[in-house]
Symmetry: C2
Subunit: 423 residues, 2 copies
């Protein structure tokens, strides 16, 4: 029966077996301390003899648990016997048991299989696992149906640029940029409320700290909404649940990065500003004339929101029609759409969609599109589709911004960019 690090403090005076990775060896003359790492934490073990094994080897130890205030969980193990389960080569390409801050991002990602062993780096994916869990829990509790839709698409609803091509038997298909088409289709079937957490692909050449060519998208779509306000309010509720759960259950991961999550009630304070107003605020904050809301502008908006509303986030709505996809529901010269900027980074785009077939057909020429060119998409609307809308949250971006990571690639276990397709 294996004892985990987290339970060691409750076993004082008992003989236990522990297993894990050799995290650190400290030789103090005749006595040697070996720190063993398992999925729940660190275990200090005391050897009377010199130890011969290498860091990162896998070891099983039997020994007596004794109290020691200086050891993790207030206990250490006096080793009676041990067994090496797997030997690690001594030439680790990067250190596992040191602060990773000194490593540059290429060293971390080129040696990803080793860098993920670092407890601070691993904490990113412990938190990401929790975020995936909280998303799923909340959506199911709200009566949403979880779907898994095809990533191999015959044509690009959002246009042919930025798509990766797949050789599919005798033809070519594309990797989906989003489940947009499918989530609208599923809503129209009568499921009404759907979500999906899956990969999405963008064949964009830029290499920035905010972009991934393959990312995980948490997509939401819901029927019988009035406008984008319903969607923004629902997103507030999702974030409240996620932040409440993280605060409760993921203190260790926050601590590893010296990070905090927003107070969940503050989600109600997130201001909603019109696209034009957003540009004015950015001009006032930065002293620069604004044509597009740039990354710098997004940061300025969050600084403003923190100062004026006490929350590091803001919704931008009222986007002009030409800045949004053709399927966005119009409202005068603008659209019923929104972005959410969180801690200086856009983490969500969403909006109400056109659901009436005549409106869709009337809209297409304005975007240089034809009904035939959209494949099966118009079928969704031809046979009756309720008012609906949705949004997506980028899972890596949310992880990044919660922990304060400087590059979104750090929040992907095996990130893909223009030059990186390994490991």
């Amino acid at each position: 029966m294996r004892t985990l690090a987290v339970d060691l403090g409750t076993k004082i005076g008992q003989t236990v077996t522990v297993s894990g990775w050799v995290h650190r060896i400290r030789e103090l003359g005749k006595i040697n301390f070996v720190i063993v790492r398992d999925r729940t934490g660190m275990i200090q073990t005391v050897f009377d003899d010199k130890v011969e094994f290498t860091n990162e080897s896998i070891i099983r130890i039997e020994g007596l648990v004794v109290a020691n205030d200086k050891a993790p969980s207030g206990a250490e193990i006096q080793v009676k016997s041990f067994q090496i389960l797997a030997v690690a080569a001594p030439d680790l390409p990067i250190p596992v048991n040191q602060e990773p801050d000194r490593l540059n991002i290429d060293a971390i990602l080129d040696n990803r299989i080793i860098s993920l062993r670092n407890p601070k780096i691993r904490a990113i994916f412990e938190l990401q696992s929790a975020i995936l869990r909280y998303f799923s829990e909340f959506m199911h509790s709200q009566g949403f149906f979880e779907m898994k839709t095809s990533k191999l698409i015959g044509s690009g609803t959002e246009g042919g640029t930025g798509l990766f091509t797949v050789e599919y038997f005798d033809t070519k298909v594309f990797l989906a940029q989003s489940p947009q088409f499918y989530k609208q289709a599923m809503v129209s079937t009568g499921l009404e409320r759907v979500f999906e957490i899956s990969h999405a692909y963008r064949a964009e050449k830029h290499d920035t700290p905010r972009h991934l060519n393959e990312y995980v998208s948490f997509d939401v779509e819901m029927a019988f909404i009035e406008d984008e306000v319903d969607l923004m309010n629902f997103e507030r509720e999702i974030l409240k649940y996620v932040f409440t759960q993280i605060e409760k259950n993921n203190k260790a991961q926050l601590l590893a990065w010296d990070a905090t999550v927003p107070v969940s009630e503050d989600m109600d304070k997130i201001p909603v500003i019109d696209h034009d107003e957003a540009k004015e605020i950015i001009t006032k904050e930065t002293g620069k004339k604004v044509f597009e809301i740039s990354p710098e502008g997004e940061r300025a908006l969050c600084d403003w929101a923190l100062r004026e509303h006490g929350v590091e986030a803001c919704f931008i709505n009222g986007w002009p029609r030409k800045k949004r996809p053709f399927y966005t529901f119009p409202k005068d010269q603008k659209t019923m759409s929104f972005d959410l900027i969180f801690r200086g980074l856009e983490i969500t785009t969403g909006g109400r969609r056109i659901n009436e077939y005549p409106m869709l057909i009337e809209t297409l020429p304005k975007f240089g599109l034809t009904e035939e060119g959209l494949g099966d998409y118009p079928t969704i609307f031809k046979y009756g589709c309720p008012p609906h809308g949705g949004f997506a949250i980028g899972v890596e971006r949310l992880t990044q911004k919660i922990l304060g990571l400087s590059n979104v690639k750090e929040a992907s276990p095996f990130p893909r960019d223009r030059k990186r397709v390994r490991p």
Copy 2:
């Protein structure tokens, strides 16, 4: 405030608003019955006048709820006013409000956006959503970390055949056949216990009722196991949880297909038979000499298991080395690996993996492989990897076998096969 079908029985005597799809119109002289479908069920509404709208149009109705034993949920609505939110074209390519059994699979899949509206067909994906939920709930409750790993891989760990090629900027990559490499890598980092529910791709040309070229794989990998028995026992626990929850929460979906889930305690009765023994049983059952365990053999094994053990499933272990991938942990001339056959269909393959670097290196030539050819994979083992193993459950196959669907494609919302890349 919208009232849902499921709540109508509690609103008798009140004026309510309901919204949904026009499912069926029944004209009885001056009185017309319109059945409205929403995500929770059917609502009978009574119009005093002739109605002009088409099936599948989206309608909002205000009216008085009155008791009617013959109506769904024991209540119907006397319509006061209504509004058409979206008009459906009258030329539905396939009927929505009839039993789908008369439609062949091509009619169902070619017209997928419409066929998914059929309540019986939609029930498949209501159940699949629930299965995804129960998997996630159980795994998180057991301390597993959920991961989302890249589907774009530079080389194929399981060999180059059966891989789809992606044009990735100036190079070519492949769509992952499974997260095998990444789940082992994540286990080796110290996470120890991981799972992923994501798409997997097989570029196999066959078109059978058991295969999809893109499917959803529920992958599990765990460290510090002894052998495949630990894995089979863990899979029993997963299935117990899933079947218990389905029995409790998804009666409507089971009823739609006249289906039952196995009694969850019966998972402990699933026999474990050796690969050689399995072939003998098949020979006895079918009277035919057996070289490979074929689909017919899998059905015969489950008939035998039901008769002899009272459960429609069996584990097969003791697979010969040459029938398993190179990374399978050997045991004499066989391997520590297993399949699970459920209701006549293989739904799981798994096993302990080689975790010791010297054993891996020694194994490669026997499979015609080299260390260099495996890219980053050997790095996992070179720097210390605990004993571990895992398995995968095909989500569509499990859905299919629970509901008794004749073709696995029916259990994928937008299935992909050699000829089908739309809708």
